[in-house]
Symmetry: C2
Subunit: 228 residues, 2 copies
């Protein structure tokens, strides 16, 4: 029983790592297509979507099996329920990579508005956050998780900067509007990928500390009691 | 033990309903502010965010307690893990209502681009999907859940229509770009609220049928086996 549990747990971690690697590659490919003005990498992302979805379901089933098998308490219980939530986050990130790929295919119909610098940079940052958030989960590394949360602000401010720059393009030359809006949406998708990585990192801190930083809950509870 | 479990389960359902009602009101208020060009409802949404977040944490804790307390099998296990995921979905919808409220406060700095018809309609549709998805979960109502999934297509096509209309505004008159982009983002936020409701509805179908429709998994598995 114990050995079966440990094996399933190892299996679960491997699946999470595999899913994270797949999603990270999809983000990479979607931006490679956009930056290099090639359709193939974007089409490859669409083809890979099924594999990501399959892993999501497998992770969910593994977690349910672990919960039923061992009926774990405290630490293990939180680890498994966190893994379930992380599977959902990864699946959403995969969807966002697909959104970028679809937008890329659309954007390839016209020449690029400008050479892309900040969007690929933002993609790299989001990919690293994704990778590190899963690493932090597997290793229960609170420090790495905190670092991921901190980097989310950098991604947000880069997204803001891209947004403002694209607005000026549109205002100066309305012929660029369609393409600028397309790029603006790609920026938003990347920003959301970073948000999902941050959600995972917050879950890790919750897991390690056994309490949530997500909503600064202690503060909230205090003020809730003040109202009574 | 049994009675305590049933009581906690009832408690969990009540919390989900309360959280859903809070989030639905926030969506309503955020759009009321935008449509009526008033700041107060939008500010009210920002004030309510803490209450939503507090419920999210409470739902999570209740679920963990239920898992540890009863060590439930099969049906109950899936119900509780679904509730955990639904708490996350509701919390994200609350965040999106906050995003709309923030965008509203920004948009109030200039006169409305045009009288809003489609955006409030889309908001109503998303709110109804949110309400029905939770109702479907509590009642384990597969038919209502399927109906929510179906309605997501209507919201998507309304969002597309809004998007295209706003693009024409921008192209015709660049002075409208900032406001049009703001409204375009509000449309996207509403579309994402509908997506979250659809995620909940898919979880309900998963729960009732005991298998996932999320990724048409049977189809995927078949094709995965074909590759072997």
């Amino acid at each position: 029983m114990e050995r079966l549990f440990d094996e399933e747990l190892k299996n679960l971690k491997e699946k999470l790592l595999r899913m994270a690697a797949l999603v990270e590659e999809s983000v990479e490919l979607s931006i490679e297509g956009l930056k290099g003005q090639k359709e193939e990498p974007a089409l490859e992302v669409l083809k890979r979507e099924e594999g990501v979805n399959l892993l999501d379901v497998e992770i969910d089933e593994t977690c349910l099996r672990l919960l039923a098998l061992r009926q774990p308490m405290a630490g293990d219980l939180r680890f498994i329920t966190s893994a379930m939530k992380i599977g959902v986050e990864l699946e959403r990130m995969g969807d966002l990579a697909v959104n970028i790929a679809e937008r890329t295919i659309e954007l390839l119909k016209a020449p690029l508005l400008k050479p892309l610098i900040d969007i690929p940079r933002m993609a790299k940052m989001s990919q690293a956050m994704l990778r590190d958030s899963i690493r932090a989960f597997i290793d229960r590394d609170e420090k790495l998780a905190s670092d991921v949360c901190r980097r989310d602000d950098e991604v947000d401010s880069l997204d803001d900067q891209i947004f403002r720059e694209l607005l000026t393009y549109m205002i100066e030359n309305p012929a660029t509007i369609r393409r600028a809006v397309g790029l603006l949406l790609v920026g938003r998708y990347l920003e959301r990928i970073a948000d999902h990585a941050t959600n995972i990192a917050e879950d890790v801190i919750y897991l390690v500390r056994g309490k949530t930083i997500k909503h600064h809950i202690d503060k909230i509870r205090e003020s809730a009691f003040e109202d009574i």
